[in-house]
C-alpha cells in the first residue's frame, strides 16, 4: 500500500525567495501528521502545492500513489481541505456554502447529509444564517464542515485552531482525534504551535525557512527526557556561576534569554532542591514548549537533527 502523501524534493521559488526548499516527507494512512513551523516557514505554500493551488518549481507530489499533476481531479475528489482562514461566501448562508462546495466535490444535494455535517460542527441551528453574521470560530467550524462534507479519506487542515477560543480549540482537537480514530481518516495538520501538534499528531515534520528540520514520531521528537527548562532567578549571572560548579553544568544552554537547561522533566524537583541548597533565589522554573524554544533546542546541538530523522 503506497503512502497517502509522498513528497520528494519539492521546491517553490517566488521571484528571488525560495519558499520551499527541497522538501521531502511521507504521510501514511491513518496518520495525524503534524506540520510544524513558524509563520512564513513554508507550511501554507506546501499545503497549497498539495492541493495544486500553487505549481511546484521542482519536485514530485504523489497522493494515494498517483502523480498529482496528471491525476489532479481524481485526487482532489478524495481530499478535504481547510486553508488558513476559512473564507466562505459571506452573502450566502452556512447551508448554501456547504451545499455549493459539496456540489463542486461531486456530491448530489442531500439535505440530511448536509445538516448532519453542520450538526457535527455545531452549526445545525445556524444553517440558514448568512456567513457574514458568523464569528471567526463559527466560520472556522463551517470551514471544517466544508472540508469534510464529501467524506474524503485525506484531510488537510492549515492552522485549524487559529482564532478560536479555548473551548473551540478543544472541540476541534476532539473532532480531529475522532476522525482519525473512528473513521480512519488520514489528516495533515499544520500549526505554528508546538502544543497543538503535540496534543493531536502521531508524526510530525518541522519546517524552517522552507527546509525540513526534522521528521518523525512525535513521541520521539518531543522526548520528555530532553525538555528545555526555563529558570528565572533573582540573579542570573550568579546562578550561572553556581551551576557551573555542580553536576548540572553540562545541561546549561549557552544561548537564549535567562538560563535554560536541557533535561529530563522528572529531574526538575531535584534541580530545585539543589538550587535552594545553593541559596539561589528561585522565582520560577517552567518547562518550555514553544516552537522557538524547541528550535533552539534543535539548533544548539548541530548534528542532532540527523539523529531524529528517519
Amino acid at each position: 500500500m503506497p503512502p497517502v502523501i509522498s513528497v520528494r524534493h519539492l521546491s517553490k521559488q517566488f521571484g528571488d525567495t525560495l519558499a520551499v526548499d527541497d522538501l521531502s516527507f511521507t504521510v501514511h494512512e491513518g496518520d495525524i501528521y503534524g506540520f510544524l513551523g513558524q509563520n512564513g516557514a513554508g507550511k501554507s505554500t506546501t499545503i497549497r502545492m498539495l492541493l495544486s493551488l500553487v505549481k511546484p518549481s521542482s519536485g514530485e507530489i504523489r497522493i494515494f500513489g498517483k502523480d498529482l499533476n496528471s491525476h489532479r481531479s481524481s485526487i482532489l475528489r478524495q481530499v478535504g481541505a481547510l486553508i488558513e482562514k476559512p473564507d466562505l461566501y459571506k452573502y450566502l448562508s452556512a447551508y448554501e456554502n456547504l451545499a455549493l462546495f459539496a456540489k463542486l466535490s461531486g456530491l448530489k444535494a442531500d439535505r440530511r447529509l448536509f445538516m448532519h455535517k453542520l450538526d457535527m460542527v455545531g452549526l445545525a441551528g445556524r444553517a440558514s444564517g448568512k456567513v457574514k453574521t458568523f464569528s471567526q470560530g463559527m466560520k472556522q467550524r463551517l470551514g471544517i464542515a466544508v472540508a469534510l462534507v464529501h467524506d474524503p479519506p485525506l484531510i488537510l487542515l492549515d492552522e485549524p485552531v487559529n482564532g478560536l477560543d479555548p473551548q473551540g480549540i478543544a472541540d476541534i482537537r476532539n473532532l480531529i482525534r475522532s476522525l482519525s480514530r473512528d473513521e480512519g481518516k488520514t489528516i495533515l495538520i499544520s500549526s505554528h504551535l508546538l502544543s497543538e501538534i503535540e496534543l493531536t499528531a502521531n508524526r510530525m515534520l518541522i519546517i524552517h525557512q522552507g527546509r525540513k528540520m526534522v521528521e518523525g514520531e512525535v513521541s520521539a521528537l518531543l522526548d520528555p527526557t530532553r525538555s528545555l527548562v526555563q529558570l528565572d532567578t533573582g540573579n542570573d549571572v550568579e546562578t550561572r556561576q553556581k551551576l557551573q560548579q555542580t553536576g548540572w553544568k553540562d545541561l546549561v544552554q549557552t544561548t537564549g534569554d535567562g538560563i535554560q537547561l536541557k533535561m529530563d522533566l522528572k529531574k526538575v524537583p531535584e534541580l530545585v532542591s539543589d538550587l535552594v541548597r545553593m541559596k539561589v533565589q528561585v522565582i520560577s522554573v517552567k518547562p518550555s514548549s514553544t516552537l522557538e524554544d524547541y528550535f533552539l533546542s534543535l539548533t544548539t546541538r548541530p548534528g542532532h537533527v540527523e539523529a531524529f530523522t528517519d
Partner: protein
C-alpha cells in the same frame, strides 16, 4: 460544466452588487422616459431644429416609443460597460479577495472549466441585463408612447425607418449589443484573473474603454489611420448599424435593408476575435496562476 455554471450563476444572482446594475438601468431609463414625456418636443427641436427652415418636421410623431428606445440606447449603451465590469471584473478577483478562490480551485474541477463557467455566467448576466433593458426601454416606451416610424440622426444623415421594419432591427441591435458587452465582460474577466482585488479590474476595464472610446471618436487622422481600426471600441457601436437603412439608386430607402451590412459583419467578426482572445488569455493566465490569496 453545467453544474459549475449553475453555481456561478447562483453566486452572481445572490450577490447584492449584481442588482445595482438592474436598478441603475431602470432608474436611468425611467428618467429619460419621464423627460421625453414632458419635454420630448424641445429635445427634438434641439436635435433637428436646423432642418426647420426647409421642412415641416413632425416632432410629435417622431417622439414615439421606437425613437425613445433608440435615444435611450444611444445614451445608455456607452455606459453599460461599467455595469458589466462591476460584475465581470469581480468574478475571479473578488473570490481571491474574499478568500474563496483557493477553496474553489482545490475542488476537483479544472481551472479551465472554472474560467469558462465564469465567462458563461458573465454572458448570462449581460444577456439578462440587456433583456431587462429591452423590457423597460422598448416595451415600456412602446406602451407609454406608442409606435411609429423611427428617425435616427447620423451626423450627416437622417434615417427614417418605417414602423413595420423596426422591430427586427431592435432584436438585431440588442443581439449586437450583447456581443459588444460580452467582449467587455471577457476583457474584465482577463483583468480579473490578473488581480487579487476587485476594484483594480473594474477600474482598469472602465479606463481602457474610456481611453479607447476617446481615441475612436477624436477624429484625429493619425489615430484614425493607425489605431482606430484595431480598437474594439470602434466596433462596439455596431448596433446602430441596424438603424442605418440602405437606399436604392433613386435615393429611396429599401425596406429591410442595411446601409452598411459588411461593416456590421466586420464588427461582429472583430468583437468575436477579441472575445476569443480575451477568454483564451484568461484561461491561460488562470491555469498558470499560483493561487496565494
Amino acid at each position: 460544466m453545467w453544474k459549475l455554471l449553475q453555481i456561478e450563476l447562483f453566486k452572481i444572482f445572490r450577490k447584492p452588487r449584481t442588482y445595482i446594475a438592474f436598478a441603475a438601468i431602470a432608474a436611468f431609463i425611467l428618467l429619460i422616459q419621464l423627460a421625453l414625456l414632458v419635454n420630448g418636443r424641445q429635445y427634438l427641436e434641439f436635435m433637428l431644429g436646423f432642418l426647420d427652415d426647409g421642412f415641416f418636421i413632425p416632432y410629435d410623431q417622431i417622439n414615439n416609443g421606437y425613437w425613445i428606445c433608440f435615444t435611450i440606447l444611444n445614451l445608455l449603451l456607452i455606459h453599460v460597460p461599467i455595469l458589466v465590469a462591476l460584475v465581470a471584473g469581480d468574478i475571479v478577483s473578488g473570490e481571491a479577495n474574499m478568500g474563496t478562490l483557493r477553496l474553489l480551485a482545490s475542488k476537483p474541477v479544472s481551472r479551465s472549466q472554472i474560467i469558462l463557467a465564469k465567462f458563461m455566467a458573465s454572458v448570462f448576466y449581460v444577456i439578462a441585463l440587456l433583456f431587462w433593458m429591452a423590457l423597460i426601454a422598448l416595451v415600456l416606451s412602446l406602451v407609454l408612447f406608442g409606435a411609429n416610424d423611427v428617425v435616427v440622426a447620423k451626423s450627416t444623415e437622417l434615417h427614417q425607418i418605417e414602423k413595420a421594419d423596426v422591430l427586427w432591427r431592435y432584436f438585431a441591435a440588442f443581439g449586437f449589443a450583447s456581443l459588444a458587452l460580452i467582449m467587455v465582460a471577457s476583457l474584465s474577466l482577463l483583468l480579473s484573473t490578473l488581480s487579487d482585488n476587485s476594484i483594480g479590474p473594474i477600474v482598469a476595464t472602465v479606463c481602457i474603454i474610456i481611453v479607447c472610446t476617446l481615441i475612436s471618436e477624436m477624429q484625429i487622422p493619425l489615430y484614425d489611420k493607425y489605431l482606430r481600426p484595431y480598437l474594439f471600441t470602434t466596433y462596439m457601436l455596431g448596433w446602430k448599424g441596424f438603424f442605418y437603412i440602405g437606399v436604392d439608386a433613386d435615393g429611396q430607402t429599401i425596406k429591410g435593408s442595411l446601409q452598411n451590412g459588411p461593416a456590421i459583419l466586420k464588427s461582429i467578426g472583430v468583437l468575436l476575435a477579441y472575445i476569443v482572445f480575451f477568454v483564451s488569455a484568461s484561461v491561460f493566465v488562470f491555469r498558470k496562476k499560483d493561487i496565494l490569496s
